[in-house]
Amino acid sequence: MSWTSSVPPPPGAAYGYSQSAYPSQLPYFPPSPVSGSLPVALDTSSPSPQHPHLGLTADANRTLQLATTAFTPVPVRTGGFGQPFAQPPHPNLYAAPANPPQTVNAASAPGSTQHQHPQSEQKIDWPDSVRSYVQRSFETKNLIPGVSREEMQTKLKETISHARDSGIMYTTDWDNMPLPQVLVQSERLQALTGFGRIGGVADAMERAQSQPTSKKRKSSDLSESNPMTPGRSLKGPSLQDRISQPSSDQSSGMDAPLSAKSKFQKQAEKRQRRFDGGYKSTYRSPSPPPSTGPVVGTCTDLEKRYLRLTSAPKASMVRPEHVLHQTLDLLKKKWRKESNYNYICDQFKSLRQDLTVQRIRNDFTVSVYEIHARIALEKGDLGEYNQCQTQLRALYAMGLKGNPVEFKAYRILYFIHTANRTALNDAIADLTTADKEERAIKHALNVRSALALGNYHRFFQLYLDVPNMGAYLMDMFVKRERLAALANMCKAYKPDLKLRYITEELAFESDAEAAQFIIDQNGQELLQEREDSIIFLAGNAKFLFETARSEAFRRVDLKGQI
């Protein structure tokens, strides 16, 4: 019999998947080089160690190397948000939270980009766009009451010197850059509402030096009494975070002095705090007039927690594209190292958000969505996967580069799983003649037609040989298709079938697995041991599998469907 060769024994892989059903390569990350514009010193010499990750192959490792090397010299904060890193305590650290000039602070913080000062003495040829930016800043009609000329000028200086120092002066879109007074204003607002980030030493220093009078806020008062908590709310756990899920490092700073109070009191105070912030934000600074173009980010933190937007995004909370490139590299590295899906998903969502609000739609956008889609796929997070897929479809339609073939194939398999015929029809309508010749797409289409025609034989053969990561998707519906096939067989075959035949036809890994599957459906009586083999009494099954089949098809998970 040929069955032994076509059905290999379970490889004992961590995920319990048949090797033959899985691709030998999981191309999470396209082997595209990291953006060359990064001013970070590249350490190309150190190869990364082999990581014992499923499907980590030579190809993937190569990209891992790229990911690692692109970012070596920077001490990265690990372990999420608000983690303390080396930072000397400053007595006035929390005294004056109003008006932290973040743009510059964040850039010079030790955690992010420490490399950019050597050329600052050079003579600069100011581009016209910068000149006109300066001009606009001083125009009377652009002045904002409440922001003094000095403040504005300081901010202007900071902004421009930051742009010069970090080498983005010629790439920054000055025409759409918020004016310094707007920046000052929005920073005040952030400080008030608790959106402020404290980027590091420089940040803290500036914070202490800038405005002596503070708009009072409970958390700053509290922290004054406890100035020695270095890591608290380093870079932004947002207001909401702090209210809903205080993490350990926050509790040291914010909740500790309150520990004597009742839970209720604490909540009441938090509520009050939230109210204060919310109230002031609307009262003190009516949101800046909507600018003509999309926001251009100035935030340089690599990591950012995802928060659903409820108002127009602020430039200081949004990372510009060159920072996002670094973020992506960092995330790739972290995913390989830690495989913490919750963290990664959260980060990718904020990354996507930053891209969206800045309306960045280019090949980089495609790669972000592709990588997130693959990770979500591996983790079975179909909701996220589907969001990415929808975006990718539109991005490919714009003619951007990426892996359209791979994802068009996934798309077909996905809609097979969700039994969404309308969408499936659309997915087919999207295909070009050339697409239909591609192996992955051909495979997906064959899967589809095999199922449409009830050809389970062909379906399970296709299941054993799936390109790319399609097997993760096929796994989602293989059980119900097995039930369907068994329902079919039980009606058509009499009196019995060898169990081995079932094993082969339905691509089980072993007779034992097939038997278990039948027993799980309460079909133990249908199995009978004969002299040389186990027999499946197909003719006696009646409606056992039929019922299970219709049950399985009714419960198609439509999570994340748009």
């Binding site: 969502k349 015929r421 499936l424 025609l453 050809n455 009606k491």
Partner: protein
């Protein structure tokens, strides 16, 4: 303006809704000069004054109209006048050479539409005036489509982020105006639905027109599934609704067509067939295009529910349908798998566009059934027992079916796949009998091995 309001008065006095609606048409093809004259009859202020005079102070008019209602109409004609300005401008008909865009036209017409809806909710309009709603809704949809087309032709003006979504929504960007239009149409629908007046004076008489417009829009937006909500609301309120048969036939045909297509998309072919058949029967015989559309879905329905194919005579008046279905029908009838596959591939683009591909594909089962039936017939008769009628040979080796499939389909299938396909035939009740796997034969039923085919 004078002339227009005179027409209005005449229609109003006679309570003729259609005539009334005619005074609000924006259609430039019919009488461009008339509309131009209306637009040129004054500036905003003078038009406002004129309308005030015509509705409230003109002694020559003898309309019994409450002040409330008069105000409603006055506003409507004012917004109508404004919309006309944009329409004439976008068509380049204005004497002052003003330019406009379809987006502006859409916005202006939307305001006009809102004003009409307000007429019913705030100004006590009576139900015989509903044709005004029809005009408003109909043109609003057209303008929305043009506005979207115009925007995408201009490379899609990226206006400021108005929603705070994490991902951009490609569909929304493509159909911004039409999506907005769908919301407005929904308002019209609800205006009709929510009227609690007795049936004789109810706006419920407008409901099917509104629904049909909504369906049309949802289909265009590629979100036909939203139509289901409308159907749900409708069936929930069916008790308070006028009898379906007392609505105009044109509205009934359209509604039944959409109801049928919606069921079709949900693979509820029995239901779909019911609705489409009704539409088919009611449809005017000269409405070729509509008949063609109905058949496009009715034919695949029949193929799956009753395994019947369209006759050449049925298709005769519809060359487009002939092209779509004829080859496929012949292949199914002959049991010619290769021809079937070829016809399906040839028509794929069109089938996919019409959303019938996945349904037609299942016709292969019928083609296969016909092929297997041929094998069975070719098998001849078993030796008859004495005195009894001869019985067909009911034990057919799998190998024979296998050979037939290879001949007909042009590709070699291994025995397991052939058995799988045979099992399918049995499972779907296209063939009666069972497979004895160990012996490699199929045992067919002695009476009616292929149900419904006479053997």
């Amino acid at each position: 303006m004078d002339a227009l309001i005179k027409e209005f008065r005449a229609a109003y006095a006679a309570e003729r809704g259609n005539d009334l609606a005619k005074t609000l048409t924006p259609d430039l093809t019919e009488s461009p000069d008339r509309l131009l004259a209306i637009w040129n009859s004054g500036g905003p202020q003078s038009i406002k004054d004129d309308l005030k005079f015509l509705f409230f102070r003109d002694k020559s008019a003898q309309l019994r109209m409450s002040r409330e209602e008069g105000e409603g109409w006055q506003e409507i004609y004012f917004t109508y006048w404004k919309a006309l300005g944009e329409i004439l401008a976008v068509e380049g008909r204005r004497k002052d050479g003003a330019k406009s865009s379809w987006t502006k036209v859409y916005e202006a017409w939307k305001e006009f539409t809102s004003q009409i809806i307000r007429g019913y909710t705030n100004h006590d309009f009576e139900n015989w005036t509903i044709p005004c709603l029809y005009v408003a809704g109909r043109y609003m949809r057209l303008y929305a489509i043009r506005a979207d087309a115009e925007r995408s032709a201009n490379g899609g003006a990226d206006d400021a982020v108005t929603n705070f979504q994490d991902d951009f929504d490609p569909e929304t960007e493509k159909h911004k105006s039409l999506e907005d239009c769908a919301r407005q149409l929904n308002r019209i629908f609800n205006t009709c639905l929510s009227d609690r007046a007795p049936l004789a004076e109810s706006r419920k008489w407008g409901i099917y027109y509104a629904i049909n417009l909504l369906f049309k829009t949802y289909f265009k937006l590629n979100s036909a599934s939203l139509s289901k909500n409308v159907l749900k609301v409708l069936s929930a309120g069916r008790g308070d609704m006028p009898d379906f048969d007392s609505f105009p036939k044109s509205q009934r045909v359209t509604f039944k067509y959409y109801e049928g297509v919606l069921a079709f998309l949900e693979e509820n072919y029995v239901e779909a067939e019911k609705h489409l058949t009704l539409a088919w029967q009611m449809c005017h015989r000269d409405a070729t295009r509509n008949l063609e559309l109905i058949l496009t879905y009715l034919i695949p329905c029949h193929l799956l529910t009753t395994h019947t194919l369209p006759s050449a005579k049925l298709l005769e008046p519809f060359p487009r349908l002939q092209k779509l279905f004829l080859k496929l029908a012949v292949a199914i009838k002959e049991g010619d798998l290769r021809a079937f596959d070829q016809a399906l591939t040839d028509g794929e683009d069109e089938f996919v566009k019409r959303r019938i591909y996945l349904t037609l594909e299942r016709g292969r089962d019928i083609a296969l059934r016909n092929l297997l039936r041929k094998v069975f017939l070719a098998g001849g008769f078993a030796e008859a027992k004495e005195g009894e009628a001869p019985v067909r040979r009911t034990r057919v080796p799998v190998a024979e079916f296998s050979a037939a499939m290879k001949l007909s389909g042009g590709e070699e299938l291994d025995a397991d796949e052939v058995e799988c396909l045979l099992a399918n035939m049995i499972y779907k009740n296209l063939m009666k009998g069972y497979i004895a796997h160990e012996r490699g034969i199929v045992v067919l039923s002695k009476n009616g091995a292929f149900p419904g085919t006479g053997v």
